[in-house]
């Protein structure tokens, strides 16, 4: 495996010129204020999660609501803090493949053991 070539020592080959949307560069990353707003949203959702846990009248919708809140928080962190919204599509594909594979495999495992129906 060779690992020759640096940004200052261009290697042989065609022009490599990805746009910011395809990766590289920090162009398009959110501002600090936007990061703080995102963090405030996450804190708000966490507060709502804990609050709903204690509301007895919402017991019937507790599980779907908590899963929804969790999915929103997960997505917000991945898209904004991990920059998947702004970075290369290759990173998005890699990570989404991992998440989907995990969801697929373990849904089958849990279904096989009748976890949903017991």
């Amino acid at each position: 495996m060779s690992d020759h070539g640096t940004a200052t020592d261009p290697a042989p080959g065609p022009v490599v010129n990805p746009t910011p949307a395809e990766g590289g560069a920090h162009a398009g990353h959110p501002s600090e204020l936007e990061y703080i707003k995102v963090a405030a949203l996450l804190a708000l959702i966490t507060g709502a999660e804990v609050a709903i846990y204690y509301v007895k009248s919402l017991k019937s919708i507790l599980v779907p609501t908590l899963i929804l809140f969790s999915a929103v928080k997960f997505s917000v962190v991945v898209l904004w803090f991990m920059h998947l919204r702004f970075d290369s599509r290759l990173f998005r594909r890699l990570f989404v493949t991992g998440v989907c594979l995990a969801l697929f495999v373990f849904t089958i495992v849990l279904t096989t053991f009748h976890v949903w129906t017991r």
Binding site: P10, V15, A43
Partner: protein, 207 residues
């Protein structure tokens, strides 16, 4: 496998400044980190599934989740870890604009928040053990400690990486050109955070 695209003419490529001369235009380190995080989804998926599989299957009369969980306490821990993600992106933003003083402040804050989370987890584990819950008492205890223990180990590794970054920055070995190193540690840190988001909901909040 080579990182470069070899042209038959052998002429040198014109590479945009700031872009690595790889076939994808992305650095191998960052692609590697994302591939690693994708594989980690399977590791934590397995641990969470095991917890769900064993949930409610413990011997009657042994300790149950609702006997030991302290939701307000764990909520504060979750909040601390969530806010450490904010300080991590602020560290990245600082190094990208060349503000090394703020980079160090935010990296150290992130490490302290992470260490607080780990300390909180140690306290929680101690409380649980005193209440009679351990790895061997029942299936709930085993799967809970393995899942949260693995997560805690990941956070601890993250704290060590952050302290290494802090030390590198103090020695002047973390110039603006190495902002990607901070970004890679940040990716790992945020991943640890999203895993906790799932654990907090699945293990602590869902009855």
């Amino acid at each position: 496998m080579t990182d470069t695209i070899t042209a038959s003419s052998g002429s040198h490529a014109e590479v945009e400044p700031g872009h690595p001369p790889t076939a994808t235009g992305l650095t191998n380190e960052k692609v590697g980190m994302w591939a690693f995080l994708a594989s980690e989804c399977l590791l934590f998926g397995a641990l969470i599934s095991t917890y769900l599989l064993f949930k409610g299957q413990s011997k009657p009369g042994t300790i149950r989740p609702k006997d030991v969980f302290d939701i307000p306490y764990t909520s504060v821990s979750s909040f601390v870890l969530l806010m450490s993600s904010l300080t991590m992106v602020l560290a990245l933003a600082a190094i990208q604009r060349g503000d090394h003083r703020r980079t160090r402040i935010w990296i150290l804050t992130t490490a302290l928040l992470g260490a607080s989370f780990v300390a909180g987890q140690c306290y929680e584990f101690t409380t649980f053990v005193r209440a009679g819950m351990n790895l061997r008492v029942n299936l709930f205890g085993s799967s809970f400690f393995v899942l949260t223990g693995f997560h805690g180990a990941h956070v601890t590794i993250g704290v060590l990486m952050l302290l290494s970054l802090y030390s590198m920055s103090l020695k002047g070995k973390l110039p603006e050109s190495k902002a990607e190193t901070v970004e890679l540690v940040g990716l790992y840190w945020h991943f640890v955070d999203i895993v906790w988001i799932v654990i907090f909901t699945v293990v602590y909040l869902i009855p």
